[in-house]
Structures are given as structure tokens and as C-alpha cells.
């Protein structure tokens, strides 16, 4: 019934419009509409033309700030747009395997045999690091010194209080409170977690056996915060808390960070130099598929919890696509160093870049 009424009202209105000579407006309306349609079509077509100069990538959230920064400058210079989606390393690996993106990015390197079976290649992008942060009223940033085995015992739940003799031994001048340690870790899967746990696996046999290293692990104790900001907010709020976050995030959030004892037995503070030293002490040319993890390397200034992100390409992808990706990262290695440093990523040393280029040549059969 209602439809009927509505129709009647409409037809009456239409009659009235026709009667009062409003046909002109409806004509010009139609004209305007067709012009709009033409413009929309032109836009779609031109967007299609631009789309051919777009590189798509997906993966690691850790490397996202770097790729984003490089891609803006790269687009300004070359007109090629790099569209990177930070969906997580797992997603990046899945996407590159499915061939929906030109490159995938992962914080955890794929094993050479996995690369082989999936027809993929990988190369490092930049180095970065992470550190432990704590909330101990009265103890300032970098006042606390920690060692790898000590951190492993804390994260295993074996050392429960800040006044534990094992901590006091390394911090003789510091007045440690008698409060419980609240361990904070990442709740979401993350390359930060992988790097951290890989380091603990190297310095503690018990950690390696009981927990191991992965983007997420079965934590023996503690609370989980989502993302760097989640961990940071727990540490800031809970007195006696300890957590691990990326170096860039420490600079941003002004959390109190610890100094660490590195593989050479030296006490070091986190720094770009320390991350780069870690990569300098690795012979990238010897490692198959760059399967090297930068934690716990030797060197007097080397930062022990250094990490790296990898870009993954498909061997079977069109040559043009792979060349475009290679050009972008080669441009980044050469011109993007200051940009990387400005957001606390360490650029790769020239020898590593050279090794990457010869790797491209040998794996793909072509290079830049």
C-alpha cells in the first residue's frame, strides 16, 4: 500500500514539474552527469597508466618506517611509486610466495633450504637494534648494566627480585630496590621478539632448550603488551618492570634503557655504531642466502642485540619486476643512508652491498 501511495506522489510531482517547464534543468543535469562520467573515466585510465610504475611490497612492520621514508624520496626522484604494506613478516612471506607482491619483507631470515624449495631469494636491508628498558624509581637511564645470561634468567623467571645478588654483582654502585621484577614481553608476533630470543638462545643453554627463538614464543613468565608501545606503556606504569623495545622507540619514548655486556665482555650502550659494528663483524659473503643473525657478535663496540630485516624476491617473477625492486633497494643502499640514520636504522656497509649485488647476479642470472 505504501508503495502505491509513494508512486502516486511521485507521478503527481513529475506531472507538476513537466507542467511548469522544468525540463531544461533536467537536460543540463544529464549533460553535467555525462561530463562527470567522462572525467571519472579519464581519471581511472590515467590511474591505470600510473599503476604500471608502482612497486608493491608487504611484510615486516619493523622495516616499515625505512621503506616508507625511502619510497617518498624515490618517487620524487624517479616517479616510481613504492606501495609497502606493513602486514607483518608472516603475511609478507605468504604474499611473496603467492606472487601477489613484488617483494616481501621479513624480520626472520628464511632458511636456505626453505628458500630453495619455494623458489625465493633474500637479502638484508638495514641493521637496527633493541634494548631492555626498566622502571626503577631512582635509577636513571644507562645506569643499570645487564648481561645476556642475567636477562635470560630474568625472562625465565629464575631471578625474581631486583635485589638479587646476580644483578647486584654487575651494578656495584647502584642501590637496587627490593621489589619484584615484572617481566614484560611482546604479545603479538614480532621480529623484535625473534631477535631478542635468538640472543637469549645464544647466551643461555637453558633458554635455548626451554623456550627457543621465534616471532612469538611460549613465554615462561610475564605480561604481554601489544606492539612496542604496549610494552613501553606497561614498563612505564609498573614499578619494577623490565621489557625489550626497538632502539628507535627508546629514543622516542625516553624510557630508561640498560647497558649490556657484549660478547667481548665490554659494557656498551646501544648506538647505531654498535649495530653497524655487529654487521661489520659478519662475513656476509660467506653466509649462504645471507642467513646470518646479528645477535651476540664479537667486537669491542658491538651491540649484542642487533637485528636486521630481509627482503624476499621470487625467482620466477618477471625480470622487469625484480629489476625494479633491485633498483629501488640499490638506490636506498646508496642514497638512503642519511635517511636511514635519521630514524635509527644502520645502513649496510659497502662490502655487504657488493655481496648483495653479486648474489643477485648468481641467483637470478641478471643484475642491474
Amino acid at each position: 500500500m505504501r508503495v502505491c501511495l509513494w508512486r502516486a506522489a511521485r507521478s503527481a510531482q513529475r506531472n507538476q514539474e513537466q507542467g511548469s517547464g522544468k525540463t531544461n534543468t533536467s537536460y543540463s543535469g544529464r549533460l553535467r552527469r555525462s561530463v562527470a562520467l567522462a572525467i571519472a573515466l579519464a581519471l581511472i585510465l590515467s590511474a591505470g597508466a600510473f599503476a604500471s610504475a608502482t612497486l608493491t611490497g608487504a611484510g615486516s612492520t619493523w622495516v616499515y618506517p625505512l621503506v616508507a621514508k625511502w619510497s617518498v624520496a624515490y618517487e620524487a626522484q624517479t616517479g616510481i611509486e613504492v606501495n609497502y604494506q606493513s602486514i607483518g613478516s608472516g603475511g609478507g612471506i605468504a604474499q611473496i610466495k603467492a606472487g601477489t607482491v613484488a617483494f616481501g619483507a621479513s624480520d626472520m631470515p628464511l632458511k636456505p633450504e626453505d628458500l630453495q624449495s619455494a623458489g625465493l631469494i633474500q637479502f638484508p636491508t638495514a641493521v637496527a637494534g633493541e634494548d631492555l628498558v626498566y622502571n626503577l624509581p631512582g635509577i636513571k637511564a644507562e645506569q643499570l648494566v645487564l648481561s645476556g645470561p642475567l636477562v635470560a634468567d630474568i625472562y625465565l623467571g629464575k631471578i625474581k627480585k631486583w635485589s638479587d645478588p646476580a644483578i647486584a654483582k654487575l651494578n656495584s654502585g647502584v642501590k637496587l630496590p627490593d621489589t619484584y621484577i615484572t617481566v614484560v614481553h611482546r604479545s603479538d608476533g614480532s621480529g623484535t621478539t625473534f631477535t631478542f630470543c635468538d640472543y637469549l638462545s645464544k647466551v643461555s643453554a637453558e633458554w635455548k632448550e626451554k623456550v627457543g627463538a621465534n616471532t612469538s614464543v611460549a613465554w615462561p613468565t610475564g605480561v604481554g603488551g601489544k606492539g612496542n608501545e604496549g610494552v613501553a606503556s606497561y614498563v612505564q606504569r609498573i614499578p619494577g618492570a623490565i621489557g625489550y623495545v626497538e632502539y628507535a622507540y627508546i629514543l622516542e619514548s625516553h624510557l630508561a634503557d640498560a647497558r649490556m655486556i657484549n660478547a667481548d665482555g665490554k659494557v656498551v650502550s646501544p648506538s647505531l655504531k654498535g649495530f653497524q659494528d655487529a654487521s661489520a663483524h659478519v662475513d656476509w659473503t660467506q653466509a649462504r642466502d645471507f642467513y646470518v643473525i646479528l645477535t651476540d657478535h664479537s667486537g669491542p663496540e658491538t651491540w649484542p642485540i642487533s637485528g636486521c630485516t630481509w627482503q624476499i624476491l621470487r625467482k620466477s617473477a618477471p625480470k622487469e619486476t625484480n629489476l625494479n625492486v633491485m633498483k629501488f633497494f640499490d638506490w636506498g643502499f646508496e642514497h638512503g643512508q642519511d635517511m636511514a640514520k635519521s630514524i635509527s636504522f644502520g645502513p649496510l656497509p659497502p662490502s655487504t652491498v657488493k655481496a648483495i649485488k653479486s648474489y643477485w647476479k648468481s641467483e637470478l642470472g641478471y643484475s642491474l
Binding site: D188, T215, S216, W219, G224, K226
Partner: protein, 334 residues
């Protein structure tokens, strides 16, 4: 009904200005199309549910093959490194956090509904009802951030008191022991309770208001108090609708993801204390889906999703059973 319809149609005809026959022909296919469209819509909704369940079950096949059903349900090891997965801590976390939410939200909702329908003066009814319904419009991420940044610090201050007094009670004291961190199962339950409050209370209020006035008036006339009217007249009268509202809230609590992820503390270790961090099925999915790098890992997460659907279905089934039993008891009593 037919008679009045015909009368309306007769009235309409001169207005539409169309001959009788065309009006009739227009109506019949319209009705036919509407009938078909309604059937299609109902069918599509059901088909979407079935298709989702089948797709989820299919994608979890790798994990089902590896761990089976019973072993996956009762195993409390969730270890991505060794690739062994079990759902037990998350199922418990989901059920317990929702139970806390229900224990807190249902009595408060009842109070709110009784206040609005029975006690409040007219001028205050609308603002109170509006404010509570507004709670439902807040996105869950906002609840999560509020819980983490505002509620948890305040609650953390109260927790030493809670664990000192409630933790000393033998038996239930076990539920209230632990470090005063401010996040954990209890915090998640409280935040969930606030989130589901508007759903339950607005349904209760609507059905309470709909109770026929003579029922209410005659009981007041016989000298009943407001409490007696609410508890003995209104609640039994609206029981099935109230239970429906309660289970609507429960369904939402079981599936809530973002807010819980922020405040529950995300620990896979099962603990007796409600003050300790825990995890629910949706919170694990939100945390680990993006970095699930192996097929078995991903499949196990999807398997968890399947279990969540099963848990919701079981709860729903129990609700229907409960309503039926209550209905039967009423039948025998009167």
C-alpha cells in the same frame, strides 16, 4: 485483514490515477518478488554462516590432523617454536573473563532497567537511558585504550588492597593473589562488563516497560513494594526476553577482541588467580595472526576460531534449553 486491505486499495485507486487492471498486475509480481527476495535473504544469511564454518573447518584441517580434537582442547602448551599447540588456557580464559563480565553486568543491568521503568521520574528516564545506550556506541578499541591507560593504573592502586583482604579468605583467596599490575583476567572482566551493560540493560528496560500496566497496578494496589513488583511480577513475566538479552551480552563478551587484548596481559600460562595475566581465544588470534609463519601455526589459529564458534553455539544451545525448561516449569506451576 483482507477486508481492510481492500478498503485501502479502493481509496488509493483514484489517487494513483491508473486503471484498475494495471494496478492489480503491478501488485502481484511485486508481492511475488518481495516474497522471493525475503526467502533469498534468509537463505543467504544461513548459507553465509554455513560457508564460514565450513571454510574455517577446512583451513584448520592441518592442525586437526596433527593434534586431533580432544588433545587440542585439553593441551595447555602453546609453543610456536616447537610447533605444538593446545587451546586449553585460551578456552578457560574466554569462559572465565566472560563469566566475570556476566556476574558484574547482569545485576547492574537489572538495577538500571528497574530504575528506568519503575522508579525514575519521567524527566530523568530519557537522559539515563540515552547515556547507557551511548556506551554501546563506543568502539571497542576505545574501551581497550581506556582500560589500559586509565582504568588499569587506578585498578593497580586498588589491587594490593584486594589481594590483602580477599586474598586472605581461605578458598576464594586463591583467586585474588598476585602482583598488583593492574592488568589481567579481573580487569578484562570488568572492562567487558561495562561493554555489555548497555546491551543487556536496554533489552531489559524495553521489555519491563512493555509489561501491561494492569498487572503492575493491581500488585501495587495489593500493597506490594517496588522490589516485590520488579522481582515477582515483572521479571517472571518477561523472563524469556530477559534471558535472551543476557545471552546477547554473553555472546558479545565471548567474542570481544580488541578491548580484551589490551587489558588481559596476554600470557599463555594458566593461573588460578584472577589478578594474573591471561589470554582469550580472540586475543590470541589478534596477537599472533599477522606473524604466523608456518602452515601448522596458521592452521592452529584458525582451529582456535572454530572452537570459539563451537563454544558460542554450545552457549546458545544452553540458553534455548534453559528458556524451554523455565517455560515448562511455569506450565506445571500454574
Amino acid at each position: 485483514m483482507n477486508g481492510s486491505d481492500a478498503a485501502v486499495r479502493v481509496d488509493m485507486r483514484p489517487m494513483s490515477g491508473q486503471p484498475k487492471s494495471s494496478s492489480r498486475f503491478w501488485h502481484l509480481p511485486g508481492d511475488f518478488l518481495f516474497h522471493q527476495a525475503a526467502v533469498l535473504a534468509a537463505f543467504l544469511a544461513a548459507a553465509a554462516l554455513f560457508a564460514t564454518v565450513i571454510a574455517i573447518a577446512y583451513d584448520s584441517r592441518i592442525s586437526i590432523e596433527a593434534f586431533g580434537i580432544w588433545k587440542f582442547l585439553k593441551s595447555s602448551e602453546w609453543n610456536p617454536v616447537t610447533q605444538t599447540f593446545g587451546a586449553f588456557p585460551f578456552i578457560i580464559g574466554t569462559l572465565v573473563s566472560s563469566a566475570i563480565a556476566m556476574i558484574l553486568a547482569v545485576p547492574i543491568s537489572f538495577g538500571v532497567a528497574v530504575f528506568i521503568s519503575e522508579i525514575a521520574p519521567v524527566w530523568i528516564k530519557k537522559p539515563v537511558a540515552g547515556a547507557i545506550e551511548l556506551l554501546a556506541a563506543i568502539p571497542s578499541i576505545v574501551y581497550g585504550l581506556w582500560g589500559l591507560l586509565v582504568f588499569a593504573p587506578v585498578f593497580g592502586q586498588m589491587e594490593p588492597w584486594v589481594s590483602h583482604y580477599l586474598g586472605a579468605i581461605p578458598g576464594i583467596g586463591l583467586l585474588f593473589q598476585g602482583p598488583p599490575v593492574g592488568i589481567g583476567m579481573l580487569t578484562a572482566g570488568i572492562v567487558l562488563a561495562i561493554m555489555i551493560l548497555p546491551y543487556i540493560s536496554s533489552i531489559m528496560r524495553d521489555v519491563f516497560i512493555a509489561v501491561p500496566a494492569p498487572l503492575r497496578e493491581s500488585s501495587y494496589a495489593m500493597g506490594a513494594t517496588t522490589w516485590e513488583v520488579a522481582w515477582q511480577i515483572i521479571l517472571p513475566y518477561t523472563r524469556s526476553a530477559v534471558i535472551g538479552g543476557v545471552f546477547l551480552g554473553l555472546g558479545r563478551a565471548l567474542g570481544e577482541t580488541m578491548a580484551v587484548t589490551f587489558v588481559i596481559g596476554n600470557s599463555n600460562v594458566l593461573s588460578a588467580s584472577l589478578l594474573m595475566p591471561s589470554a582469550t581465544i580472540p586475543s590470541v588470534l589478534a596477537n599472533e595472526f599477522t606473524e604466523a609463519t608456518t602452515p601448522l601455526y596458521l592452521s592452529s589459529l584458525i582451529y582456535l576460531g572454530l572452537i570459539l564458534i563451537a563454544v558460542t553455539l554450545v552457549v546458545r544451545f544452553l540458553a534455548v534449553l534453559l528458556i524451554r525448561r523455565l517455560g515448562r516449569r511455569e506450565g506445571t506451576a500454574t
